[in-house]
């Protein structure tokens, strides 16, 4: 009687049976279930339970209504693989006992459902009696108890086809057994979620470490004077400066490739025509850099003139935003032997004229500095004279704009010097000249990076040893591969 009543009851409200077990608890307020802390405790379990219960009740219905009708499968993700057809043919499948895991396959065999339906009815009726008992007296705690019972019923349905070893002692009352099993389920689920949380945290920490690593690499790369695109860092670089840095980095890469190509061509003893083409390309490539610098000077002259775009060692020799032409000629002279008499005269004249031009530009810049200083110090620096402040600023701004002109003229001087070298020398000599220039600047850049990464923590003995070892180790790095 209880069976039929409960089964009919379940048929009427199959869903309600799953959601909060309202149907089973006639007298208690359904909301209590969700108000209790237990709600959160098995919140997600509840969902899977609901699905399973609904599906099971549906199959229950199907079983009672028509035995042949297997296709009554609700579109639950967990029940997606339910195929009653297979259920009949297959041996009793194992069901996931831990609802927190995604149910890959849920086989609810027809026979099982038939059998379980009976047990469901049994446990339902018993729990219903219980709930009727307890709801009046114990309120929330009793509701919780009844929830446990309800939920444990579902566990029973799943357990029906499990190995018997998992079933607890049959001597105890069904309530107690179910409660214990239910608690075990919850412990299991809680442990699963703790493990998942731990795994997630571990993942987060590892990616945090990786991020720190990448930032460190970037810091190191920046100290070597190579700006990675789009990441200026703490200091506010203007867009023109950032753009120039990116393009300069690209130019450097290109330059490295061309130097390698030139080196290969020189040692392959190509005919002069081919070599000339390569040398002319190299000269054009240098011209491109001067173009870049000219446009950068117009957008952010301070970036160029302070040499932020170069490496520290290059910055040491910086003159008006670049290399000093007369110094370069002086350095190259011994590298270009043998030279004819005429060539020697030409190069010496070049050295002299570039020196004079540099001198003139330097003096012009000095006058600019002086004029700027006079403007800044104009009036009284001590007494508060706000009247002339903006006027002086305007004047100073006007004078400062002349700075661009000087940087542009200095770059012009460098460009003319390179062109003149190209004119004086033969093709092979010019090739060696450009290689020498590239190599010289490469060495300066390498010096910068070595300096930055030199060992500093060695204070005691073995100073010299450790220094040598570290330098030797670094010397074998790939950055020296082009040498």
């Amino acid at each position: 009687m209880g069976e039929t009543s409960s089964s009919s009851h379940s048929r009427q409200d199959p869903c309600v049976l799953g959601y909060g077990f309202h149907g089973a608890i006639a007298n208690s307020t359904p909301a209590n279930f969700f108000d209790q802390e237990g709600a959160a405790y098995f919140g997600e379990l509840e969902e899977t339970f609901m699905h399973q219960v609904a599906s099971l009740t549906r199959t229950q219905q199907a079983a009672t209504t028509s035995i042949a009708h297997h296709g009554d499968i609700k579109p639950f993700p967990t029940a997606a693989t339910v195929t009653a057809a297979t259920a009949t043919a297959r041996p009793p499948p194992t069901l996931d006992i831990f609802p927190a895991w995604p149910m890959r396959s849920l086989h609810t065999p027809k026979e099982g459902s038939n059998v379980t339906a009976d047990s469901t009815d049994d446990s339902e009726s018993s729990s219903k009696n219980n709930s009727n008992h307890s709801s009046d007296q114990h309120g929330a705690a009793a509701d919780m108890q009844s929830q446990f019972d309800q939920v444990s019923q579902q566990q029973q349905l799943q357990h029906k086809n499990m190995a018997t070893s998992s079933t607890p002692r049959t001597g105890k009352t069904p309530d107690r057994k179910q409660t214990i099993r239910r608690l075990a389920q919850n412990r299991e689920a809680a442990r699963k979620s703790r493990l998942r949380k731990k795994a997630y945290i571990q993942q987060l920490e590892s990616s945090k470490l990786k991020l720190a690593q990448i930032e460190q690499d970037m810091q190191r790369a920046r100290s070597q004077g190579i700006f990675l695109g789009g990441a200026p860092g703490a200091n506010t670089t203007s867009s023109g400066a950032a753009m120039f840095d990116v393009e300069y980095a690209r130019w450097l890469d290109d330059h490295g490739r061309r130097m390698a190509e030139l080196h290969g061509a020189l040692h392959a003893h190509l005919p002069d025509g081919d070599l000339r083409a390569i040398v002319d390309d190299t000269l054009t490539h240098h011209d491109e850099l001067f173009q870049l610098k000219a446009s950068a000077a117009k957008s952010d002259v301070f970036h160029l003139i302070t040499g932020v775009w170069t490496t520290p060692a290059e910055r040491c020799f910086l003159w008006m935003g670049g290399f000093r032409p007369s110094d370069l000629v002086k350095t190259l002279l011994p590298q270009l032997d043998p030279l004819t008499e005429q060539q020697l005269v030409g190069i010496c004249n070049l050295q002299q004229s570039s020196q004079q031009a540099e001198e003139a530009l330097s003096q012009g810049l000095d006058q600019l500095h002086q004029s700027l200083a006079d403007t800044m110090a104009g009036g009284s620096l001590i007494d508060d004279t706000n009247m002339s402040f903006m006027g002086q600023m305007a004047l100073a701004l006007g004078k400062l704009s002349n700075l661009e002109g000087f940087v542009i003229q200095a770059d012009n001087l460098r460009q003319q010097t390179l062109h003149q070298m190209h004119r004086i020398l033969t093709v092979r000599q010019a090739a060696r000249c450009f290689l020498a220039i590239g190599e010289y600047h490469n060495r300066l850049r390498a010096l910068s990076s070595l300096w930055v990464s030199r060992p500093r923590e060695i204070l005691g003995a073995d100073e010299g040893h450790c220094g040598e070892i570290s330098i030797a180790a670094q010397a074998s790095q790939s950055q020296f591969s082009s040498f």
Partner: protein, 136 residues
């Protein structure tokens, strides 16, 4: 370095004896001034680049004739004439200062970049020698 025929004119100007300065256009005046000396530099007294070009010539031992346009009463017109000249012969950026402009032997050499290029490629010295501004 002689600070200019223009200044001299101003100092000794006598209305009666002013022959052609009234009818002379700025361009003509410019031509005249440019041909009067071996090396002529049109400059502005406060311009630092002009100072650089002056130092360049002095460093080479040349004594150019400098005309400070800001100190000349007709300097504004002269500047415009020079701008026209530069615009015709070569590219001049908008807003860029016209000065310094160098004439050697009455012929236009150009602005600072042209002068420097000429010096580096070795054509400046022969030009100066030819004009008689430099002798070894």
């Amino acid at each position: 370095m002689q600070y200019g025929a223009a200044a001299a004119e101003q100092a000794w100007y006598m209305p009666v004896v002013a022959p052609s300065s009234a009818v002379e256009t700025a361009a003509e005046r410019m031509e005249r001034l440019a041909s009067e000396s071996a090396v002529v530099v049109f400059s502005v007294s406060t311009c630092c680049m002009c100072h650089a070009v002056k130092r360049l010539f002095c460093g080479m031992g040349v004594h150019p004739t400098v005309h400070e346009l800001d100190l000349d009463p007709r300097g504004r017109e002269l500047e415009r004439a020079l701008a026209c000249l530069l615009g015709a012969s070569g590219a001049s950026a908008a807003g860029a200062p016209v000065v310094p402009i160098v004439f050697i032997g009455g012929r236009l050499v150009g602005a600072m970049d042209r002068v420097m290029a000429a010096h580096i490629n070795g054509s400046l010295v022969p030009l100066l020698k030819e004009a008689g501004a430099l002798w070894l």
